[in-house]
């Protein structure tokens, strides 16, 4: 199995005891840990370069602006964007999607238009569209999820039609681990003139992402799930699409000229970045990308697949377990329900042994209803996790089964 355990020295947080036992952090789908390289870059920035960007003519501001815009270029490279101008900084996936669901939807959706999403979307890729539908009179439809945790593509021709003006789809499901065929879906959408938004929260930093290869109009992701600081994320938007969009927030940095009555605005990406940005967050995201690229995204992906395959195989032996999501190609998480214990009880038990699992609906309530479970327990991995940690998890879960039975 691909072994990346030598990288654990880069993650100070992993080397602690929780309730007297070594921490096993298996909640990476909620948020990843940060390597010392990223933490050090934040410190370096605040101790040496900190200043507001874009408007200064002095040394610190020039340095801050250079690092800030260099990070934008790194992001563009990282996701294969055509240009750094296609990279808009946001707080995270949720804000990225809301930007599109507010600005783009208000301009281009009208009553009766269809917004198509899927039955496995995160609340962050559902609720913004529900709000947009309420404002515009657009109609919501969704592609259902099959029992094996993949999309029911037999219904695609029926649902993805010219009436659909927007198609929003998660790249990797945070509740099932499904990797959706976004390239094929976007190709079909594009042929019909349907605008596409891909929620890449669980994909970026976990598997190779190339937005031009995927062919989407928008791609959203969060830094905090890929080794970057909290509070920073990205909306990629295709240049032609961004060029047609009205401003979102008004304020400093996004204007060209302002009078007391009216204003004119810059072009993308600055048009969509009103106010002082999260400068340290952006620079930290750049450092995280440097780190991930030094490890290698392909290697990270391979490690995740192998570790998950191993975990799935171990978990399958637990009495009364039901594993959710597809069997074959999948992302690095395992979600399950145990007959003897509700997820909350299980997660509470795990915590007393230093194991961090997540239990609940994982912000996918409709999916929980679909699978008729009140919630699931989820172990989600990143490259610093090891097979030995999976073994520890299994030991703890076996004890939990005894405890609750």
């Amino acid at each position: 199995m691909t072994d990346l355990s030598h990288l654990r020295v880069d993650f100070p947080i992993l080397h602690q005891q929780v309730h007297g036992e070594p921490l096993v952090y298996f909640d990476n789908a909620a948020s990843s840990q940060k390597p010392r390289q990223v933490i050090a870059e934040l410190t370096r920035y605040y101790e040496l370069d900190n200043a507001n960007v874009h408007r200064g003519l002095y040394e610190l501001s020039n340095r801050a602006t250079d690092s800030f815009e260099a990070a934008r270029k790194k992001v563009a490279c990282f996701i294969g964007a055509g240009s750094a101008d296609e990279v808009i900084f946001t707080r995270g996936t949720t804000e990225s999607i809301n930007l599109v669901a507010q600005v783009w939807a208000a301009q281009f959706l009208k009553a009766g238009d269809v917004i198509l999403y899927t039955g496995m979307e995160h609340h962050s890729n559902l609720v913004p569209w529900q709000l947009a539908a309420r404002r515009t009179g657009a109609v919501l439809k969704h592609i259902p999820v099959l029992d094996d945790g993949t999309l029911d593509l037999t219904l695609l021709d029926l649902l993805l039609t010219e009436q659909a003006k927007l198609f929003a789809c998660v790249h990797v499901s945070n509740s099932l681990g499904t990797i959706n065929p976004v390239r094929e879906l976007c190709a079909k959408a594009r042929a019909l003139g349907v605008t596409t938004l891909i929620d890449g929260a669980q994909a970026a930093g976990h598997l190779p992402v190339n937005v031009r290869d995927i062919g989407c109009d928008f791609y959203a992701f969060s830094g905090h799930k890929m080794c970057a600081p909290t509070g920073i994320g990205v909306l990629y938007g295709k240049a032609e699409v961004l060029a047609k969009m009205e401003p979102w927030h008004g304020g400093g940095e996004m204007i060209e000229s302002v009078t007391l009555e009216a204003s004119t605005y810059k072009a993308a990406p600055h048009r969509f970045e009103a106010g002082t940005p999260d400068i340290a967050g952006v620079i930290g995201l750049g450092a995280a990308i440097d780190y991930l690229e030094s490890v290698g995204i392909e290697k990270i992906h391979q490690h995740g697949q192998e570790l998950t395959a191993y975990a799935m195989q171990c978990l399958a032996e637990l009495p009364g377990i039901r594993l959710l999501g597809p069997q074959g190609d999948r992302a690095s998480l395992a979600a399950f329900a145990l007959a003897c214990a509700h997820p909350h009880d299980l997660v509470e038990f795990a915590n007393t042994h230093g194991l961090a699992l997540r239990g609940g609906h994982h912000c996918t309530q409709p999916l929980m209803k679909r699978f008729k479970v009140p919630g699931t327990s989820r172990a989600s991995f990143y490259f610093y996790n090891t097979a030995a940690e999976v073994d520890r998890m299994m030991d703890i879960l076996h004890r939990a089964v005894t405890f609750f039975s």
């Binding site: 309730h19 007297g20 214990a341 509700h342 997820p343 909350h344 009880d345 509470e348 038990f349 007393t352 042994h353 239990g359 609940g360 609906h361 309530q365 929980m368 009140p374 919630g375 405890f403 609750f404």
Partner: protein, 149 residues
């Protein structure tokens, strides 16, 4: 290892037993029906309460899904409040909240009976809302019946 002991306290046999075989489980008709949930966890409860003319609790059943704590708490509660006068049920609600939060003083410990076993929740502040789920639904049902009459 102290936390493991706390955990054992939280999930005592009686509690696990109630959660696996909840008493007064099911539905009632011609009653006040309240749906309660815990948005963060996805726990849900449906509480069905029949009040008598004085506002006392004539019958009560519940339904839904949730963790051991919320299920056991609701199950034990229904046993204790069924047949209680309104003010008595209100007092128990107040006392029970003190038991699980550790805040305030318990007026009538005897009335709570085995509900006292849920004291272990104090060590797990995140679970207070689980333990209170059924009680909050009952409280709302009592408020609604008061409004109607």
């Amino acid at each position: 290892m102290a936390l493991s002991d706390d955990l054992r306290d939280l999930y005592q046999q009686v509690i696990l037993d109630h959660s696996k075989s909840p008493r007064n489980h099911g539905q009632l008709t011609d009653c006040v029906h309240v749906h309660g949930d815990n948005p963060t966890c996805g726990d849900e409860i449906d509480m069905y309460v029949k009040f008598n003319d004085e506002g006392g609790i004539a019958d009560i059943k519940f339904d839904g899904q949730g963790c051991a704590i919320s299920q056991a708490s609701a199950s034990m509660m229904t046993i204790k409040v069924k047949g209680s006068r309104r003010d008595k049920a209100m007092a128990m609600l107040k006392d029970f909240r003190s038991v699980v939060t550790g805040e305030g003083s318990v007026q009538d410990e005897d009335a709570l009976g085995e509900l006292i076993l849920l004291e272990g929740v104090q060590k797990f502040p995140q679970r207070v809302k689980c333990a209170m789920l059924g009680w909050r639904a009952l409280e709302q049902a009592m408020q609604e019946s008061a409004k109607e009459s």
